[in-house]
Every structure is written in C-alpha cells, then in structure tokens.
C-alpha cells in the first residue's frame, strides 16, 4: 500500500481549471518532490489530499484512506502550508499545546526540542512574530506529533538560508526515522537536494514523473561551445536538442539522447571550446515549462 495515492484526481473550480486526471503513488519512506510553477495546481492537489477541498472526480488517499471520509487518519499527518496563519492573540506555546491536544499524546518534550532547533521563542505572542518566525511556528506545529507523513507546501519561503538548512536537516532526520515526505516546491535546487523522485505538474496535469537519479544522470547534458565560424541552428537540428541559444560563434543547448549522435554533429564543427555538463534541475525544469510557441 502506498502512503499517498492519487487516482485520476480531478478538481475543477466552476469552469476554471484546477487539476486534471492526476495519478501519483508515493511509497513509504521516500521523499517525493512535487514541482511546478505558481498556479500549476500543486496546492489544489495537496488541499484535496488533506480533505480541505472535495475532488470533482477521482480519489486521493493517505494510508489507504480518504481524509474526507476518515478524518482521523490525519493524526498521522503533518502539514506545513506555504503561508502560515494562526490565532493572533495566542502565545506560541499555547498555540502549540492547542495543536498537540488534537493528537492525544504528550508532545511537550518534542515541542521544546523543535523550538530549540529552530531557535523559536515560545513565550512570544503570535502577532508579534515576523513572517519567518511564524513559519518556524508552522514547522514545529507540523512536526510536533511525529507524523508518519509530512506534507510540505513551499516550506522554505520566508526562512533565512541558515534556517532553511536546519529545516532540511530536520526533515532528513524525520525521514531517517521512517517518515514519508511529500515536498511541493517551485524552487528546484531544494528539491534536488532532498528528493528521491519527482513529479512535474504543469497547467493542472502531471507531465513527468521520474527518479531524481534518472533525471540528473541519464540523459540530459548541457552543451556549450564556441566555434571558429558562426553556428547555424540547422547544424544541430537533432531530436533531443532543446533550449537552443546561438549567439554569433557561441551556442548552448540541452541535449537528451544518445551522446554519440551529438558527438558526430559536434565533430562537423570547427570548435574553439566545448563543455559538456550535467544540467541542474532548473534547466530541465525550464525545458518542461518553456511556453510552447
């Protein structure tokens, strides 16, 4: 049984698009990346999964159960929204205790530990906190009951790099202890660092689901070169070439395919310089998301 299963999940808001026919399965113990630009349907997917909104058709289950039909299953679940809002007139510690009271176990020690790691002052009132500090409350709040599934929706916005680092360490530690992580983001470098598999969502549809290792190692190469004469695009009109940019004698592009084909094409050009690199996810991402002409 997968920890998260989305089956033909569709959600429309009136006539406007939400998500269409999303299929995903996240296995126990993995860190799953969910990548897409703003408005692609990441939050809609997550909110359906959490039972905050109802699917138009299809199903979303957590540990085999739907959150709308079995809300109790949410006790195994920790959620960190992209923007955190809490009851302003409460103190941090009171909010965290209130949150803990839903899980029927003693979380006091865990709250202290997490607050220590995140450097969070428990005595302050929520409305006195800065955006970043509110986010920290969100992190502690999402993890204090040691959930088996952690759902993160653009978790690092508002955190400074040091805190982001600590946050990733915290998530990695939870993952080592057995928690499954569903990590939605539009910042690729952070997904790249953590995730084992990644799904790309675009305009409400999953366009690609790949292992991180496949994505990075196998096929994609970033090729930049300088030639003796001007480079014509026609010379590199091969399948698998994308994001071709020529600038006089220089050119760069991303290539996916048999590297030998590319080598032959390159051999035909009088080169001054050549570099073949692993593209980072950002570039692969752009490859998926560049608006079709």
């Amino acid at each position: 049984m997968s920890v998260i299963e989305l089956n033909h999940l569709t959600k429309h808001y009136g006539k406007s698009r939400g998500i269409t026919d999303v299929n995903l399965a996240v296995e126990e113990g993995e860190i799953f990346g969910f990548i897409g630009p703003n408005g692609a349907g990441k939050s809609t997917t997550i909110r359906t999964l959490l039972g905050l909104i109802y699917p138009t058709s299809g199903s979303a289950t957590v540990f085999g159960k739907s959150c709308t039909e079995h809300p109790k299953i949410r006790k195994e679940l920790g959620y960190l929204p992209s923007e955190v809002f809490y009851y302003d007139n409460m103190r941090v510690i009171d909010l965290l205790k209130y949150s803990a009271s839903f899980y029927k176990k003693d979380c006091t020690k865990r709250i202290r530990e997490l607050a220590e790691v995140m450097d969070l002052d428990l005595k302050k009132r929520i409305d006195d906190l800065s955006f970043g500090n509110k986010k920290k409350v969100g992190i502690v709040q999402g993890l204090l009951h040691e959930p088996k599934l952690i759902i993160l929706d653009e978790p690092t916005s508002g955190l400074d790099p040091l805190m982001q680092q600590k946050f990733f360490e915290l998530i990695a530690e939870e993952n080592r202890k057995g928690a499954t992580v569903f990590f939605s983001s539009h910042i690729l470098s952070e997904v790249q660092k953590m995730c084992s598999r990644v799904a790309f969502i675009k305009e409400g549809e999953i366009i690609k689901l790949e292992k991180m290792s496949t994505l990075q190692e196998n096929s994609y190469k970033r090729i930049s070169m300088e030639a003796a004469a001007a480079i014509r695009k026609a010379d590199f009109n091969l399948t698998g070439v994308s994001n071709f940019e020529a600038n006089g004698n220089a050119a760069k592009f991303i290539f996916k395919g048999n590297i030998n084909t590319m080598m032959k094409a390159l051999a035909a050009v009088e080169l001054r310089n050549l570099s073949v690199e692993e593209p980072d996810l950002e570039e692969i991402f752009m490859h998926y998301y560049v608006k079709e002409d």
Partner: protein, 266 residues
C-alpha cells in the same frame, strides 16, 4: 472538548462586554421606573399623544405601562434587539472566522471531522449566550426587585426574560446558516446588522397591523408577545414550535453545507 475551551477563551471578552452593555441598558431603563410609576397619569397622557400605530410599533401598551412587568416589557424590546445582534454576530463569525483569519488550514487538517468542529463551535457559542443571559438576568432581577413597588412576581419576570434566550438562539442559528454559504465572509457586522434590523422592522410594521396574521411568522421578534405572557403567564405554543423548527432547520443546513464545503487557499 479542546476546541470548545479554545473557542470559549476567545469569546470570553466579547461575551462580557455584551452582557455588560445589556445590563447597563436595562439598569438605565429600570432606574427610570420609580419616577415614572409615581407619575403614571401624566406619562400615559404623554404617550397617548402618539398615534396608536406608532405605539404598537414601539411596543407601548398603555394599559400595562404602570406595572413593572408592563414597563419592563416595553424596554425589553431594545434589550432583545441588542441580544439578537450579539447572537447573530456570534453565529455568523464563529465558523467563518477560521477562513477570515486564515486559520482554517490549521484547524481543518487536524484529525477531527468537520461536524466535530461545527458541534464544538456551536456548543461554545450557546455557552456564551447562556452565560450572557444568566449574568444579565441575575443583575436585572435584583434591580427589578429593588425598584418594584408592589405586585412584582419573580415568576413572571423570568417568563418575560426567557424570550431573550429563545430569540438569541434563533439568531445564532440564522447567523451560522448564513455564514456557511460564503466562501470567505470578509465582514460579519453589515450582514448581522442588516438581518437583525431588517427583521426587527418587518416585525414592527407587520406586527403593528396584523395581530394574528401570517406576517407574525416572518419576524422572530414577534414570536413572544409580552402582553400575552403577562396575561397568560406562558408562551404561545405555535411560536415556540416555530422557533424550535427554525433553529433545527438552520443548524441542519449549517452542518450539511459546512461538511461538504471546499476550504479554499488564502
């Protein structure tokens, strides 16, 4: 239970303010009673100058005005108005504030059902209303006992005051039912004041003309006629039933809609 306590904590302050305001209003009116009772004849002749329709709209009944019960029932109209605003405001905000203050993402991903949430909030709101009324009643009963000349009946005073609770419960339920239809209710006050004053005026206009017409059903303010209560020491059963039905229907709608509702991102 944790949700009920949390709600009570956040509602405590406004509940105290409301009961304080209602007590102050009642105290002001009651303190005028002794001087009015001493000069009933002048007072009645003054009020006789008003057209009968206006008197009826304002709830003034000349035959009863000299007794404390009659006088109190005249001023009680304004207290009920106050209480209705409190109750409707409470009902309309108790669920919708989670969306307004964007805390729905916190509460609604907790391992509780939506109906648990509605129940907890309803319970907390009812507790606040009942606590407000009990405080109000305790203080006004003492005040009324102090200013009453003779023939003051505690039993009747309780009967006259209870409709406050009934009408508040009706408005609490209406407020709740109205609020669940909005995906995000930005401001509760206009809708509250609009509904309460609207129904009050409808009641005053229709109630003044038709004693027993169907129009009376339109406004909860007309369900508990104080003259009937004074004369019969009891309530009109059909209006009591209508109130109960109204509450049950509004609460049922609230549960149904809220459970099936999409909670949108902020």
């Amino acid at each position: 239970m944790n949700m009920v306590l949390h709600e009570l904590k956040s509602l405590r302050k406004s509940g105290m303010i409301w009961s304080g305001a209602m007590i102050a209003l009642a105290a002001l009116f009651l303190s005028l009673y002794p001087s009015m009772a001493g000069d009933t004849a002048d007072f009645v002749s003054l009020l006789e100058g008003y057209p009968a329709a206006v008197r009826a709209m304002l709830g003034i009944h000349l035959d009863y005005i000299s007794s404390l019960s009659g006088y109190y029932s005249m001023v009680f109209v304004y207290i009920v108005l106050c209480g209705a605003i409190q109750a409707m405001h409470l009902g309309a905000s108790v669920l919708s504030k989670e969306s307004r203050e964007r805390t729905a993402d916190f509460l609604l991903v907790k391992p509780v059902t939506r109906s648990n949430i509605v129940t907890a909030k309803l319970l907390a709101a009812c507790t606040v209303i009942i606590a407000t009324d009990m405080m109000f009643f305790a203080v006004t009963a003492i005040l009324a006992g102090a200013v009453a000349a003779n023939g003051y009946s505690m039993h009747l005073f309780i009967l006259l005051n209870l409709p406050l609770l009934f009408i508040q419960l009706v408005f609490l339920a209406i407020g709740l039912a109205v609020s669940v239809f909005f995906s995000r209710l930005k401001n509760v006050l206009p809708i509250t004041l609009g509904t309460v004053f609207g129904l009050y005026i409808i009641g005053a206009l229709l109630g003044a003309n038709a004693e027993e017409g169907a129009g009376r059903y339109l406004s909860p303010f007309q369900y508990f006629d104080s003259i009937y209560i004074i004369e019969h020491s009891g309530y009109e059963l059909k209006y009591l039933l209508v109130s109960a039905l109204l509450i049950a229907a509004a609460v049922a709608v609230s549960y149904r809609v809220y459970i099936k509702k999409d909670i949108h991102a902020v």
